[in-house]
């Protein structure tokens, strides 16, 4: 439905978007995730033909937006970051204007009513937009994007400035729309993307940093064979700790073992990290059976989307690159930024420890 090839945008010397490529299939809801200033809006403005690209190509339904803009634009409904509302008009007059502007052929009355019902603005249709709250304005913005039933919807931060109830409503609406339209939506709010989107593209510093479903991206990043174990030793005292650490260390492919806190009486947790290519779970079981230990818990350390986002956008260089394999992960390490980040992280950890102690 939408194909983006090597899209770049330069503002003077500043490269806002670097070589972005991706594809969106019909009926997919794609989430554009990135910190403020990452290039989300710039990319969306290029997709919709509002600004030109410095290089690269955008195909909407097979039509190049720079070569046949009128036709390509007719496939797109766009809600920019600031809804393009004429605030002196009533909702009715405004939507009717958009209907004419898009040269819509659907029956006017019925179509406008459908759109208003869908966006839940029917009871304020006769009011002047100037007097409406932010939430209503946002919905009117969404309504204008929906006019003429475009196969592609591009929504730039659709829930910004809404109250929690409205956010849930809009999300539900977008999900519903995703059944009939191809949707691209941008946000810097993680739960939103996670709740609504089938697929996520994380943009950082104008580049695609990750592309895939939330699970795919998470799996890629957790594929480091890190796990937390809870093992019950034979003596059930602190003496077990060293023996267990030593024994696990002797297994093949182990990179790192550390005894953690005492979680149950005389029973400790262990953080274990193995080589990427070794699955140590069976060997571990075997070891414990021989020694007469019991594994009470085995947990692969899972990353939430939030962890991923922070990792990628803050330039955590622990992440392994796997070229040519989806999801692609491509992280640029910015030295200045990361130093600050490290400090911040350190502080956070300190706080966590303190809290733990108090508990």
């Amino acid at each position: 439905m939408i194909e983006v090839k090597n899209l770049s945008k330069k503002y003077g010397d500043k490269q806002a978007v670097k070589n972005i490529s991706f594809k969106v299939e019909q009926g997919e809801i794609l989430g554009f995730l990135g910190p403020n200033g990452a290039g989300k809006s710039t990319t969306m403005n290029m997709l919709t033909g509002y600004i030109s690209s410095t290089s690269g190509q955008v195909l909407v339904n097979g039509v190049d937006i720079f070569e046949d803009p009128k036709k390509a634009k007719s496939f797109i409904g766009y809600l920019p970051e600031i809804p393009p509302l004429y605030i002196d008009m009533t909702i009715d007059a405004y939507l009717s204007f958009v209907y004419d502007l898009k040269k819509c052929k659907l029956p006017r009355k019925a179509h406008l009513k459908d759109v208003c019902d869908l966006c839940k603005i029917t009871d304020v249709r006769h009011r002047i937009i100037k007097n409406l709250s932010k939430g209503y304005r946002q919905r009117v913005g969404l309504a204008q994007a929906l006019i003429n039933n475009p196969p592609v919807l591009i929504l730039d931060e659709p829930t910004v400035g809404l109250d929690p109830n409205q956010i849930i409503e809009i999300r539900t609406l977008i999900k519903k729309l995703g059944k009939r339209h191809t949707v691209i939506l941008s946000s810097h709010i993680l739960p939103e993307i996670q709740a609504v989107c089938d697929r996520i593209i994380i943009i950082n510093k104008g580049e695609v940093a990750a592309d895939g479903t939330a699970d795919e991206i998470a799996r890629q990043l957790t594929n480091e064979h890190k796990m937390t174990l809870r093992i019950e030793g034979t003596t059930k005292t602190a003496a077990d700790k060293d023996e267990i650490v030593k024994a696990i260390k002797s297994l093949k492919g182990i990179k790192y073992v550390r005894a953690d806190m005492e979680r149950e009486r005389g029973i400790y947790d262990y953080d274990v990290e193995a080589d990427e290519n070794t699955d140590i779970r069976r060997a571990l079981n075997e070891l414990c059976r021989q020694k007469g230990w019991n594994i009470l818990m085995l947990q692969l350390s899972d990353l939430t989307l939030e962890d991923i986002f922070l990792k990628i956008t803050m330039g955590d260089n622990d992440i392994k690159l796997e070229p040519n394999e989806r999801p692609r992960i491509n992280i640029k390490f910015d030295e200045e930024d990361s130093e600050e980040d490290v400090e911040e992280n350190a502080e956070e950890e300190d706080n966590d420890d303190n809290n733990g102690g108090n508990d």
């Binding site: 509002y50 803009p69 007719s74 766009y78 920019p80 600031i82 004429y86 204007f97």
Partner: protein
């Protein structure tokens, strides 16, 4: 184009700009009509037209000041530029909306003509000549105003700059008079809106001047389209 034209027409009346424009136009043209035509016992309306030159020079910027600057400021241009319409549709929609309002204002002269016809004989051909001259002049001025409106986000800046630009066009004749080089002086005179317009009020219908005004209107609308197009490449 139709959608944009209709919206602009509505916006003129909702925002009150139309009422201010029409009120001032009717008031001043009425005064010139009373003082210059009826008061001096003539049936020729040329004094109204010649006096209105300087008035529309200040009135037209009020009409055009917000046409594109406001779109840019409120980011509503994003809606227009991502809709399946061309840049010419956008510019001409706005241009013809302003022109329509100008025609509504200008057509008041036919009411004056009606009053005159009651008192004496009106030469229709002179009246129509003057009427169309002002129409073409207004058409060119509106294009200049829209062009300047496309350059800024600030309505006041747009209005003041437009008035200044139109005033400079008005001063072309006195520039020409002060330049000793005959060729340059000739070129400037030929670009003078005022002397071309005044010809009409003296009863001369000059086709080259009609072409001149139409070309100016086209040229400035073309510039406006280029400005909108260039912004996409910024």
């Amino acid at each position: 184009m139709g959608a944009i034209y209709r919206r602009e027409m509505n916006a003129f009346f909702i925002s009150g700009v139309a009422y201010v424009f029409l009120f001032v136009f009717y008031l001043l043209s009425g005064y010139f009509f009373y003082a210059g035509v009826i008061g001096s016992g003539r049936t020729d309306m040329s004094p109204v037209f010649s006096n209105m030159f300087i008035i529309i020079l200040f009135l037209i910027p009020i009409l055009t000041m917000r046409l594109l600057s406001e779109e840019k400021k409120n980011k509503t241009d994003q809606g227009l530029l991502t809709a399946p319409v061309g840049l010419w549709d956008i510019v001409l929609g706005k241009y013809f909306a302003a022109l329509t309002l100008f025609i509504i204002a200008e057509s008041v002269v036919f009411i004056y003509a009606g009053i005159l016809a009651y008192l004496g004989d009106v030469v229709l051909s002179t009246l129509l000549g003057n009427y169309f001259a002002m129409l073409f002049l207004g058409g060119a001025f509106i294009a200049v105003g829209i062009f300047i409106s496309s350059l800024t986000e600030n309505q006041m800046a747009s209005a003041v700059a437009s008035m200044l630009a139109l005033f400079v066009l008005y001063l072309f004749d006195s520039f020409a008079a002060n330049i000793s080089n005959e060729n340059i002086s000739k070129v400037i005179t030929s670009l003078s809106f005022y002397s071309r317009y005044i010809e009409f009020t003296q009863g001369i219908f000059s086709l080259p001047s009609v072409v001149f005004f139409l070309s100016a209107a086209f040229l400035f609308n073309f510039f406006t389209v280029r400005v909108l197009d260039k912004r996409r490449w910024g």
